[in-house]
């Protein structure tokens, strides 16, 4: 029988199937399981009620991030409910022998930042977490996706979950990105073309020159937002960029193990002639700095464009109008020049060192606009340390900005970092849903460059106008 060319996704998925159930899901073995304080406590409670143990505690890693404060982390957490969840994570991790990087631990940070930066995330793995942005880890050529709390309990108790195999989609972007166009713009562009439900039911492979030339930080930003087009996850074939990033990290394989794993990782690519259920192709030249104008991540546009008319946007007119009404925007008006009250840079989407370098490149030798409140939140303590070491903190301070401590922060506003009702925020996070950043908050998603341009001008600004050649 001749060999059927396989996709990267097939290779990783099929090698993790413990059992196939006829007219049912696959039982999928999970190599790495990340947990945090919000979606794990009920799963641990379930284990107790059923009198079950954690089957492989060494394959689960805990970090506190979702509701941690981003100032004064050395003090007790003020909100009793948040403190209770943080305590529950600590107690559960200790009880079951799970590694735990809690508040104050030098390894602490956002789960999707600390996993990769410590070499826990590796190519060819299956990775899950009770958080939809687990898709981030797909940047390493892993199958990584978000799960619910019942599934967290499954992984804790059996190291497996039961999943129907998704369909396969490939999204190719070829050509070269222009000046000021970042990975965030690439993914917001793709989502604006596919819509917020355009990849539901699919697992996406990102391919083509743009991703081949992208850093690991950039690839993580792209895969992070796969879920925002409905995809189960997104992945990129590992290459030299991937291997160079992993090598030498704390928990990455060393010596002979490295050589053995590396040989395997090099086989993880889609073969010539492999078939996808759906393919999309875009040209890098069509992408400009992006910004969202509505209340789902598919409602994005080039920053120099006008807000689309309802009929051009597709979908129901009522839902579209409800969305613009919430934002206080109108069809066919420009986004450039709109007043900005808050700027947030951080999150699992754009909370890595490269993002702060980009932000600093714009604010250097400029001043924060007086009326703008800016929250600058590193994704981890390691990122925070890099910000200090590279002199970025000095640039921030000189421009009138303050650096906060790591956490999910205003991305989902579970802690005190809430945008007030009616206020406008340019945010480097991943969701512009109604109330996502606080009840009544109005979110415009964008890249770190667009966020920086808004922070110094106080209005929506094309960052290219502030860049030197």
């Amino acid at each position: 029988m001749s060999h059927i060319p396989a996709t990267l996704f097939d290779k990783v998925w099929d090698s993790h199937v413990v059992r196939k159930i006829e007219d049912g899901p696959d039982v999928l073995f999970i190599d790495r399981h990340f947990i945090h304080e919000v979606t794990s406590p009920v799963a641990f409670l379930g284990l107790e009620q059923r009198n079950l143990k954690v089957m492989f505690p060494e394959k689960t890693f805990a970090t506190a991030d979702h509701n941690t404060p981003t100032i004064n982390q050395h003090l007790p957490v003020q909100d009793p409910l948040s403190a209770n969840q943080l305590k529950a994570l600590e107690v559960n991790a200790a009880k079951y022998g799970i590694s735990h990087w809690g508040l104050g631990n030098p390894k602490n940070g956002i789960v999707h930042v600390v996993g990769p930066e410590n070499g826990i995330t590796l190519p060819g793995m299956t990775i899950v977490c009770g958080d939809s942005h687990t898709s981030t880890h797909g940047a390493f050529g892993a199958i990584a996706f978000g799960i619910g709390t019942s599934e967290v309990e499954m992984v804790l108790s059996s190291q497996c979950i039961m999943q129907p195999k998704p369909k396969k989609m490939r999204i190719k972007v070829d050509g070269r990105l222009g000046k000021g166009i970042t990975p965030k713009d690439v993914v917001l562009f793709i989502i604006s073309k596919l819509t917020a439900a355009g990849a539901t039911g699919y697992f996406v492979e990102f391919a083509g020159e743009v991703f081949e030339n992208m850093s690991m930080e950039g690839r993580m930003t792209v895969c992070n937002m796969s879920i925002e087009m409905g995809a189960r996850g997104g992945m990129i074939a590992p290459d030299e960029t991937t291997f160079n990033y992993i090598k030498g990290r704390d928990k990455a394989p060393k010596g002979a193990d490295w050589d053995k794993d590396l040989a395997y990782w090099k086989t993880l690519k889609t073969e010539e002639g492999a078939v996808f259920d759906l393919e999309h192709h875009f040209d890098a030249a069509d992408i400009e700095p992006m910004i969202t104008y509505g209340t789902n991540p598919g409602m994005g546009m080039g920053i120099t464009q006008h807000i689309p008319l309802a009929q051009a946007a597709g979908g129901s007119k009522t839902s579209y109008e409800k969305s613009l009404d919430y934002m206080g925007f109108h069809e066919d008006e420009p986004m450039l020049g709109k007043k900005v009250d808050y700027v947030f840079i951080g999150s699992c989407t754009n909370g890595r060192i490269e993002d702060f370098r980009a932000f600093a490149s714009i604010i250097k030798d400029r001043k924060k606009a007086d009326h703008v409140t800016a929250w600058i939140v590193p994704g981890s303590h390691i990122v925070e340390q890099q910000i200090r070491e590279e002199g970025i903190l000095d640039i921030l301070t000189a421009a009138g900005f303050q650096l906060r401590q790591p956490g999910c922060s205003a991305c989902l506003a579970m802690n005190d970092d809430k945008i007030p009702a009616g206020k406008y925020a340019v945010s480097t996070s991943n969701r512009n849903f109604e109330g996502r950043q606080g009840p009544g908050a109005r979110t415009m998603l964008a890249s770190p460059l667009v966020a920086a341009a808004a922070a110094v001008t106080g209005v929506v600004t094309d960052p290219r106008t502030l860049m030197v050649d």
């Binding site: 039982v27 073995f29 190599d31 499954m154 979950i161 979908g315 009840p439």
Partner: protein
């Protein structure tokens, strides 16, 4: 956690003809701070349902006593966004046992099936028919039969089939869950793990 078995559900329905209802609307993040699964129904659709001063918003469907029932009917791409199972818990805790839409987000669908809510995906045309029937008569009943995999608008007799794999169907009809299944195959998992390179 045990859930009610699902076989045939005959009920009035609550219409929500809005697209892209995301899980942040179903249950905002600030209500995810519990360490136990209870009381989430009180905060279902919190910011659409209540004003900032906690008074009910009169124009929201859950505050309109004409609309009741165990079936929630939503617009396209229902349950998008966050993986929080709390969204499904809130819907279940409020009293819904079935959500009907023309399109569901993946994680929400999985979470629902795992806790005993039946997500019924119908064609866009059939969804419109349901909305129209409820608009014409808020007391109109729908019948969802899991054994037959059909949904019927009883007033008009219009009926459509829906898909569900036989494994999940069996689970829902008997109140089983995946954890029971996985516990029964521990030896297979152990030998699989022994061969894993990670």
């Amino acid at each position: 956690m045990a859930y009610d078995k699902f076989t045939v559900l005959k009920s009035t329905a609550v219409p929500m003809p809005i697209e892209n209802v995301d899980t942040d609307q179903i249950i905002p993040a600030r209500f995810l701070k519990a360490t136990e699964r209870k009381g989430f129904g009180d905060n279902l659709f919190r910011d659409w349902r209540y004003n900032a001063d906690n008074t009910p918003k009169k124009d929201f469907v859950l505050n309109n006593s004409i609309y009741t029932g165990k079936i929630l009917v939503g617009g396209k791409n229902f349950g998008s966004g966050s993986s929080r199972e709390h969204a499904a818990w809130a819907i279940y805790d409020y009293g819904f046992r079935c959500v009907v839409s023309s399109f569901f987000a993946d994680i929400f669908k999985n979470n629902s099936l795992n806790i005993g809510i039946l997500p019924v995906q119908v064609s866009p045309a059939f969804l419109d028919n349901i909305f129209r029937a409820i608009e014409a008569d808020p007391h109109t009943e729908l019948e969802v039969s899991l054994p037959d995999q059909t949904i019927t608008i009883l007033a008009t007799g219009e009926r459509e089939s829906f898909e569900i794999n036989s494994y999940k169907k069996h689970n829902l009809m008997n109140g089983y869950d995946d954890i029971d299944y996985l516990q029964s195959m521990k030896e297979d998992i152990r030998s699989f793990a022994a061969k894993s390179i990670y």
